[in-house]
Symmetry: C2
Subunit: 193 residues, 2 copies
């Protein structure tokens, strides 16, 4: 019976997403999970252990979303929807606009070794998913056949980071939706090597 474990991970995700790895204390987690320290330590071993499960779960969900884009018949169109969606969330969840992975990466120098390596793996995994989107869009004729696939994947990941980060600095995230159009448009633009 690992259902409450799943629930704990989701509640912990909320806290880590809002406060970051360094900013989150065990007492924040004890409150959020409504569990005493011993329970958390017996279930997850440490703050780092709990965070690793949170990061894995988060990466899995995001990866799934991007792969769903890749597996659709109109990847470029679905990519638009995927990029647009976080701009439409209500204010109460404003911190969720920023990607948890990018947020964690900002604390790089202070992270335990285990978190660092998992973080790099997550970034690589999502980059691969973006690359799959590019490949699929190309094979569906939505992109030119001579697009540099690997660079485009890196670039797309960069645009994802830029949009999510910018969205946290403006009053209305939805006011950035023009940027999604530019991303899709620039994807078909020049890629001179």
């Amino acid at each position: 019976m690992s259902y409450p474990r799943e629930q704990s991970i989701q509640q912990a995700t909320e806290v880590f997403w809002l406060k970051g790895y360094l900013g989150t204390g065990m007492r924040d987690l004890q409150t959020a999970l409504d569990k005493r320290p011993g329970s958390i330590y017996s279930a997850f071993g440490s703050k780092e252990g709990l965070y690793l499960e949170v990061l894995n779960h988060y990466t899995g969900v995001l990866h799934g979303q991007i792969m769903a884009v890749a597996n659709s018949d109109t990847p470029l169109q679905q990519l638009r929807e995927f990029l647009l969606f976080p701009l439409t969330v209500e204010d109460s969840a404003a911190h969720k606009i920023q990607c948890l992975i990018v947020k964690t990466q900002a604390d790089w120098a202070e992270l335990p070794e285990g978190v660092k390596s998992e973080l790099q793996a997550a970034i690589a995994q999502l980059r691969e998913a973006f690359q799959t989107v590019i490949l699929k869009a190309r094979s569906m004729g939505e992109l030119a056949t001579d697009i540099p696939v690997e660079r485009a994947a890196v670039w797309l990941q960069g645009q994802f980071i830029a949009m999510r980060t910018l969205a946290t600095t403006v009053e209305t995230p939805a006011s950035l939706s023009w940027m999604v159009d530019k991303i899709v448009s620039d994807l078909s633009g020049e890629w001179a090597q």
Copy 2:
């Protein structure tokens, strides 16, 4: 004689840049400045006070660099150099690739109110500087006259964030220099409203 004060700010910048606001402890600063707690508190009032001076100084330097780009005769060409430069720094200063402002912003929910407001001011100030670059490039004929200036400034800030963030995840930052070319190229690309 406020020269040692300037020096303290630079040394503190190193630490905050590497470890972030939350990750930096007063004892890290005491070591870096080679000063005892009382001296630091008499000079800067608090950790927050010291950080605010660091942030102001950092913003001023970056703002100056961007305005120098704007004030040149070939802004777009100078923008290329400006974006390219951080990709060429040696490994020992790898953390300096990531923008201190973006890094700090990741800890948003945990920052003291004073840091939050100063951070927003810094972001707005740099956005303005980017806008000046766009305007100047337009007036010099390097950009089309119908470019949406405000959007382009936000977008350019986003590209800056993307590049600096991506550069921290690859083994050789210089391998991303193609991205600078794409940024300059996309700046002249489609801006359909």
